[in-house]
């Protein structure tokens, strides 16, 4: 009987522990505040978007998204921890609560927004899929790729767009599908494929990584898809979604208003009512989100506006603003008013 009692007790404890984790559906904001940092899912290494620098500090446009949320919640942009995720791991990591935000150059699609249990809250980079080929191939357009072998990563929208594009243009192709970024690039460089396809930003990043050999590769002019990349959160926690969404909107609106990390202290008493709201002097915007009223000041002061983040991270890999320019300057980057 003694053993029996022990076994029963152990089983009860084990089941109890499992039950405890099962129904812990508290709000993400409370959980983040309790643990003291934002857990952010990022790409394992994509220059310009999220990659650790030589000191091991994560840098990039997606990284700044997470830093902005940390600044809004804690008043300290450094209270972020990063989880590097591959294309195939990313959604499970967010669904299971391993990360609080997924900021990993992820395309916003209907299927992902619904059946995966995610909510995309903003678009922080408007991208499109392109092709890169070797210069020696003498190809000037993607329309000439009939019969080509194409290297692509699996589990991405890229893989689907590739098949769609060749079907739509009644062309044939052979895919070579390899999951890891470095290895799919290695296969392309070794001549296994005629072309390598991914988002134009990824092509630019890969091409610039070839150093002196960069000009042996050309990126074809066709952009064959829309790839709105943006941060996602778990479905159903609207409060947390609002915080991430408006963190991004503050960064865009700050650029529209000419507020930067450098000049925001001197603009604290600017008479413009829009600026007054953005620096947190009026409007109680922070309270409405469940945060301090200086949340937007902290974002702009510590992370900067969208343009600053872009110039710091994406410009160096050779990508101009293009459609990611503000709407008022000919682009499509547009934020709803912070008021």
């Amino acid at each position: 009987m003694k053993h029996l009692g022990k076994i029963a007790a152990t089983a009860a404890i084990a089941l109890g522990a499992l039950a405890g984790t099962a129904n812990a559906q508290q709000s993400t904001l409370d959980a983040v505040k309790a643990k003291g940092f934002v857990q952010c899912g990022v790409n394992t290494g994509l220059a310009g978007f999220s990659a650790p620098d030589s000191q091991g500090v994560w840098k990039g446009l997606d990284v700044d998204m997470c830093r902005g949320v940390a600044a809004a919640v804690f008043g300290d942009a450094n209270k972020v921890r990063y989880t590097g995720l591959t294309a195939q791991q990313r959604f499970t990591a967010l669904q299971s609560g391993e990360v609080d935000i997924l900021a990993r150059n992820t395309t916003w699609t209907l299927a992902r927004d619904t059946s995966l249990g995610l909510d995309f809250v903003a678009v922080n980079f408007y991208d499109g899929q392109g092709f890169m080929v070797k210069r020696t191939l003498n190809v000037k357009s993607a329309k000439e790729l009939n019969g080509a072998t194409v290297c692509v990563q699996p589990g991405t929208t890229t893989e689907l767009n590739l098949a769609d594009y060749f079907r739509a243009n009644r062309m044939q192709f052979r895919p070579v599908v390899i999951e890891k970024l470095e290895e799919v690039v290695a296969a392309y460089l070794a001549g296994r494929c005629d072309a390598y396809t991914t988002d134009a930003s990824g092509l630019a990043s890969t091409r610039s990584a070839q150093g002196a050999n960069a000009n042996q590769h050309i990126i074809l002019p066709e952009i064959i898809s829309k790839e709105p990349l943006g941060p996602a959160v778990r479905h159903g926690d609207n409060k947390w979604a609002d915080i991430v969404r408006w963190t991004f909107n503050v960064m865009v609106e700050a650029e529209e208003m000419g507020l930067t990390s450098g000049n925001i202290d001197s603009k604290m008493n600017d008479p413009n009512p829009g600026v007054q709201r953005l620096v947190g002097k009026t409007g109680d915007m922070g309270k409405m989100l469940g945060l301090e009223n200086n949340w937007s000041y902290n974002i702009i002061k510590q992370v900067g506006n969208y343009g600053e983040s872009y110039d710091r991270n994406v410009k160096p890999i050779g990508l101009e603003r293009g459609v990611n320019e503000l709407w008022s300057k000919g682009g499509i980057m547009y934020a709803p008013p912070v008021r």
């Binding site: 009987m1 076994i7 079907r167 052979r174 070579v176 296969a187 070794a190």
Partner: protein, 397 residues
């Protein structure tokens, strides 16, 4: 449950007590089974509840949706417009093709090396020993990456500069292209003729054995088998008008069109699996041969049996009894190890199921399908192996 013999007589009245070994055994087994069932039920219901709460889609409805992605190698017709189900079938077939070819080739190569290690020639036995030690002590994943990137992709030229060792044969980083017989209905008939030949051989050998047991007369079985298995397809070929048209590979645009292609991904996976597993097979073969004592050979030659008959009737049947069980494990290993294909871009089941679960977000269903397929294949191989093992086991009379 085995009954436990008890020396003392059964108590007059039935009394349930934990000190009774039978009662105790039943109680604990019920408890354990109940506990496991409870845990499984709990995990399943908990997963379902959490997926429901997070609005994650579940169920197998996605199998009928359009897959939308292309697959480089398919033995049945497939296009991105086909369903996820068909894509997964393509993956299962690709896994089976590489597993079956791998099993056959690893058995042949492993047997040669295993015998080689026992050779009296010092050089041959040393080469075989070194091969076995190197191959079985390096991780397979590393070997696959080595074959694919370092050997095949780095050393072979691009399609436009392909080596052309024989007319119609091209070797490049796109694979090996060879001419194949152009499609003709005669080949289907030849396959049927070959199958008829195999069935005929089996029946004939049964009859020959029975006749030899009854009358002592021998039948030239080898010649008859060759005639049936090779001769019948040949007759079918002649009857079909002896088609000789070949489909030649030809460089058109970016790639070779026509002919048959052995892709670098398939080649690297097959070479890696075969060379790795052959090292284990060699050791199994060696152990099997060493397990038969030399006295058996001497005894059978004392009875007047020739060397070939000694090997076939005395040594091999005894060696096989030692060889078969560990060999089945190696066949299972090849099948399961073929899932490493995902590293080098061969579209096997795991690769395609991974893509599917990523596009649909239905990880649990995807992993479930992978597990089910591997379990089915592995259990089939094990069942066949056990059946064969029983057949060749020592018959005690």
């Amino acid at each position: 449950m085995a009954s436990i013999p008890r020396s003392r007589p059964a108590p007059p009245s039935i009394k349930l007590s934990l000190s009774d070994p039978v009662v105790r055994a039943i109680v604990f087994q019920v408890l354990v089974v109940g506990g496991v069932a409870l845990l499984v039920w709990y995990l399943v219901s908990n997963t379902m509840a959490n997926m429901e709460a997070r609005k994650i889609a579940s169920g197998f409805g996605f199998l009928n949706r359009e897959a939308g992605f292309a697959i480089s190698e398919h033995s049945i017709d497939y296009s991105p417009a086909d369903s996820y189900f068909r894509a997964l079938v393509v993956g299962v077939l690709n896994t089976l093709i590489v597993a079956i070819l791998g099993i056959i080739l690893a058995t042949i190569l492993g047997t040669i090396i295993g015998i080689g290690r026992l050779a009296k020639n010092w050089l041959i036995s040393q080469i075989c020993s070194v091969y076995i030690e190197v191959m079985r002590n390096l991780p397979l994943a590393l070997q696959l990456v080595f074959w694919y990137y370092a050997v095949i992709l780095e050393n072979l030229p691009s399609a436009r500069e392909a080596h052309n060792p024989l007319p119609g044969v091209f070797v490049s980083s796109r694979g090996i292209m060879v001419p194949v017989p152009a499609n003709d209905p005669t080949y289907g008939w030849m396959l049927i003729a070959c199958l008829i030949g195999i069935v005929g051989t089996v029946l004939l050998s049964r009859w020959a054995k029975a006749r030899q047991a009854a009358t002592g007369q021998q039948f030239p079985m080898l010649r008859a088998a060759a005639g049936l298995i090779l001769g019948l397809p040949l007759l079918a070929w002649l009857a079909g008008g002896a088609p000789t048209v070949l489909d030649w590979p030809e460089l058109r645009g970016f790639n070779f069109q026509g002919g048959g292609t052995l892709t670098p991904e398939f080649a690297a996976l097959l070479i890696g699996l075969v060379t790795y597993t052959a090292a284990f097979v060699a050791e199994i073969v060696r152990s099997g041969i060493l397990a038969v004592s030399h006295g058996q050979t001497e005894a059978s030659s004392a009875l007047g049996l020739k060397r070939g008959l000694t090997l076939r009737l005395v040594i091999l049947p005894q060696a096989l009894r030692v060889i078969i069980p560990p060999m089945i494990s190696q066949y299972l290993n090849i099948t399961k190890n073929s899932s490493l294909a995902v590293l080098i871009g061969y579209p096997d089941l795991v690769s395609i199921a991974n893509t599917t679960l990523n596009q649909t977000g239905q990880a649990i269903e995807g992993i479930g399908i992978i597990m089910m397929v591997y379990l089915t294949v592995s259990l089939s191989i094990a069942a066949f192996g056990n059946w064969y093992n029983k057949r060749i086991a020592l018959t005690e009379r």
